[in-house]
Amino acid sequence: MFAHDSRLVTRNSPVVVEPDVEESVKDAFDKGWAVVVWNDPINLMSYVVFVFKRVLHMSLSDATRHMMEVHEKGKSVVARETQEKAELLVHQLQAYGLQATMEPS
């Protein structure tokens, strides 16, 4: 389909991609979003480890390390993802009641 679109391709010339399209494609594949979990006084430490294992498929040692980072430093970056995947992870972490946000990194 794109091969017949004169805006994108001309004979004997390199592919020309419009800047806004290029930006959209870059955004879609760029893992430029950090998923951050913040400390709170209510969620149990064992519960946070459980959620990291369940949602982020972390090993017990990774889940425990990130939980301790949340507990001691107030937050932990638990994933770096595309915008779409980061949104999904934030939804899943919040479904379990964790204080999770996504931040441009």
């Binding site: 209510i42 149990l44 064992s46 915008q83 939804h91 479904a95 946000t101 996504m102 441009p104």
Partner: protein, 170 residues
């Protein structure tokens, strides 16, 4: 309180006092879910809006609205699950242990509901680190301390449930 795996699925066995704690928490949470969002205390409305990003700017604005919609959807789903469980559990029979059959997915929902009950109590009563670590045996017990006690009790319940689920994840 015992959660065991059988050939048909999981069975949660509860003695009377355990049922009192669990049924009371579920009934309170069901009332919370039934209350329209705009009639909740502003702090609870904020809890249900959630927050997607602190620095996301325009890119995260639309997605924040999606998040609020998704979060609101959990209320109806969880209310339905609670209503199913409350049909099975009752407080009339003091001497008998009662059983609640659960799938793994239902245990996860139960975990989410109990944890949410803890978060809602904390938001409603402004419970932070100091209140969570306060000595509950000293002085008269007020509503906030009762809420802290419930948060701690449900923490024990959660511990039992996630110990069972941990085995399923490994």
């Amino acid at each position: 309180m015992k959660l065991t795996k059988t050939a048909e699925g999981w069975v949660l066995e509860l003695e009377w006092l355990e049922r009192v704690i669990i049924v009371t928490a579920l009934e309170q949470q069901a009332t919370h879910y039934r209350t329209p969002l705009d009639q909740l205390d502003p702090v609870l409305q904020a809890h249900w809006r959630g927050r997607l990003s602190l620095r996301g700017g325009e890119k995260a604005k639309e997605a924040s609205e999606d998040l609020a919609e998704v979060r609101a959807g959990w209320r109806g789903e969880r209310l339905q699950a609670i209503e199913r469980w409350l049909q099975v559990l009752n407080l009339n029979d003091v001497d008998q242990v009662q059983s609640l059959g659960l799938t793994v997915e239902e245990i996860e929902t139960l975990v989410q509901v109990f944890n949410e009950r803890r978060l809602v109590l904390a938001a409603e009563y402004g419970i932070g680190d100091a209140a969570m670590e306060a000595d509950l045996e000293s002085g008269p017990v007020d509503q906030t301390q009762r809420a802290v006690m419930e948060i701690h009790l449900l923490g024990v319940v959660l511990h039992v449930l996630i110990s069972a689920l941990d085995g399923e994840l490994e």
